[in-house]
């Protein structure tokens, strides 16, 4: 049996500044990544958040486009059953408004356009005049459409075209705007709930990982590992899961958005076209998985740190 001096004891091994938190440290947690449900939970959450975010942003864009289009917009309806009288009053209104300094432009909505709009309700044979169709004139004002401006115009029109009524276009759409706003809040609420759920899932996963790896953690602790070193091991492991889950979730979410986008585009409605996402919106959507990774890592860190604080 050799009794020679044991190796390496002759000198202290230089302590360096290598951070214990990389691949080496990650090996301490054997829980095979991707084997657990974590990446899939995160993938599903990211998918849902991506879709909800895209929906919310599209809703906002629709509302903004519509608002911009309608700003300064008003409509004059001439509600007169007799076609000749209706036509006369419409022309009077056109002439009056055409030369009014408050008005930027006017457009008489052609009867064919109106017929086409009403056809689904009145049937193709609206020529029969069974239901009188009003004459419509789109008016674009120079300034904002205030009630005072409308009252002013209404008063002047009424003198010569008693059956003409002027309304702000936006006011017709007020309920629509209300619905759009509610849906944006709904989307925001969904995103927040999903984030909360994801954080809770990560919290549970981190706690269970803490439980199954308790022995290892205690050993690293006793060897002088700091809380932060140990937390970093978990952070890294969960960050890895979240990255995989985020990538999958983003892909699925984008697929869903594109599919929905195509279907809405097929509707050919001008309004939906206004909902198309701009580049900034895409940046926000792309940031969803990044935010998920950050949220997961932060949650893991806080969970682990608070559990460690209960150890000496």
């Amino acid at each position: 049996m050799s009794m020679k001096k044991p190796p390496t004891l002759g000198r202290k091994i230089a302590r360096g500044f290598t951070r214990f938190g990389g691949e080496r440290a990650a090996q301490l947690l054997p829980e095979a990544r991707l084997a657990g449900p974590m990446p899939w939970v995160i993938a599903i959450m990211v998918t849902l958040v991506v879709v909800a975010t895209a929906g919310g942003l599209a809703m906002r864009n629709i509302a903004e486009t519509a608002r911009a289009e309608l700003a300064g917009g008003a409509t004059v309806q001439v509600l007169e059953a007799l076609p000749q009288e209706r036509e006369r009053q419409a022309q009077v209104v056109e002439a009056m408004l055409g030369s009014d300094p408050m008005v930027a432009s006017i457009r008489r909505v052609p009867d064919e356009e109106l017929d086409a709009l009403l056809e689904p309700w009145l049937g193709a044979d609206s020529e029969s005049q069974a239901v009188p169709v009003p004459a419509l004139i789109d008016v674009r004002l120079r300034g904002e459409v205030t009630q005072a401006a409308l009252d002013d115009l209404q008063a002047r029109i009424a003198t010569r075209a008693p059956d003409a009524r002027i309304d702000a276009q936006a006011s017709w759409l007020a309920p629509v705007f209300g619905a759009l706003t509610s849906m944006q809040y709904l989307a925001l609420g969904l995103v927040m709930l999903l984030s909360l759920t994801s954080a809770a899932a990560v919290w549970l996963a981190a706690r269970s990982a803490l439980g199954t790896n308790r022995g290892t953690i205690e050993v690293v602790h006793m060897l002088g590992g700091t809380d932060s070193q140990i937390a970093r091991i978990f952070e890294r492991s969960i960050g890895f899961d979240a990255t995989m889950g985020g990538a999958v979730g983003l892909t699925l979410g984008l697929g869903a958005i594109l599919l929905l986008g195509r279907q809405f585009a097929a509707l050919g409605s001008g309004m939906v076209a206004g909902g198309a996402l701009g580049w900034l919106d895409w940046v926000i959507i792309a940031a969803v998985p990044l935010a998920a990774v950050a949220l997961a890592m932060l949650t893991a860190r806080l969970t682990v740190l608070s559990a460690l604080r209960r150890m000496l």
Binding site: M3, G16, F17, F20, L312
Partner: protein, 244 residues
């Protein structure tokens, strides 16, 4: 620092209880001196592991004071403890090897935790495994090693960082006498380099193998001092090698 710098650890009237039961350790007072070699003996259940747990900072005492390297540990902030733990090597009674790490990685763990670069630790770890006779098992996981082999990995892990204090709980319980002696030589070599060694054991034959060692005896949680050298300052007439 008002503590004498020729003390490593001082326990002053330390008591420990787990829960509301009677104290597991009572009125334990002693001083460990740098470069000394201590055996901690006592019957099973006497409180050896409990005392060592206080020593390697796994536990705070229920009462009393503990000073280590001249600093009061009772009032010390929690976040300062890791730096102290890195100066203490521990051989746990139940080894506590990390099950999914190879023998090599287990031994390398304390060095990695304290930031030693990979290229600086490869050779020392390999040499240490060679010394404990396990270089051929360095890539194997603890579960595939025998009890004695696991114990040797645990010892290699405890000494690899050349700690200021080595605390070993029954480090030779699972090895044959020849290996026990060899491991003891490892502790002695470390001791000669200035490490204070505390070995808990109920193997009385072991005590005789280190003639310069001091003996602490625990009896139902109370410490007796057969060699009379535990208190500071030690009795001048304290026999340095009292053996049966």
């Amino acid at each position: 620092m008002n503590a004498p710098d020729n003390e490593v650890v001082t326990f002053d009237n330390v008591g420990l209880r787990y829960g509301p039961d009677r104290e597991v350790l009572s009125d334990v007072s002693f001083t460990l001196f740098p470069g000394s070699f201590y055996f901690l003996t006592g019957a099973s259940g006497a409180g050896k592991t409990s005392l060592l747990r206080l020593l390697y900072l796994a536990q705070r005492p229920s009462r009393g004071a503990i000073r280590m390297f001249g600093t009061d540990l009772i009032t010390m902030a929690r976040k300062k403890l890791p730096a102290y733990r890195r100066r203490i090597g521990v051989v746990f009674q139940d080894f506590r090897l990390v099950p999914h790490l190879s023998a090599f990685d287990n031994v390398a763990l304390p060095l990695r935790v304290s930031g030693v670069r990979e290229e600086d630790l490869r050779k020392p770890v390999a040499d240490m495994l060679d010394w404990v006779g396990l270089s051929h098992r360095s890539e194997d996981r603890p579960a595939t090693l025998s009890g004695g082999e696991q114990q040797r990995v645990a010892i290699a892990r405890a000494v690899i960082g050349r700690p200021d204090v080595l605390v070993a709980d029954e480090p030779t319980g699972n090895v044959d006498p020849e290996m026990a002696l060899k491991l003891l030589r490892l502790f002695e070599a470390l001791n000669r380099l200035g490490t204070t060694v505390v070995v808990a054991t109920h193997d009385v034959h072991l005590l005789r193998k280190v003639p310069e060692s001091l003996i602490m005896r625990l009896d139902k949680g109370r410490l007796s001092d057969p060699t009379g050298a535990l208190r500071y300052p030690p009795r001048p007439d304290a026999p340095r090698e009292t053996r049966t």
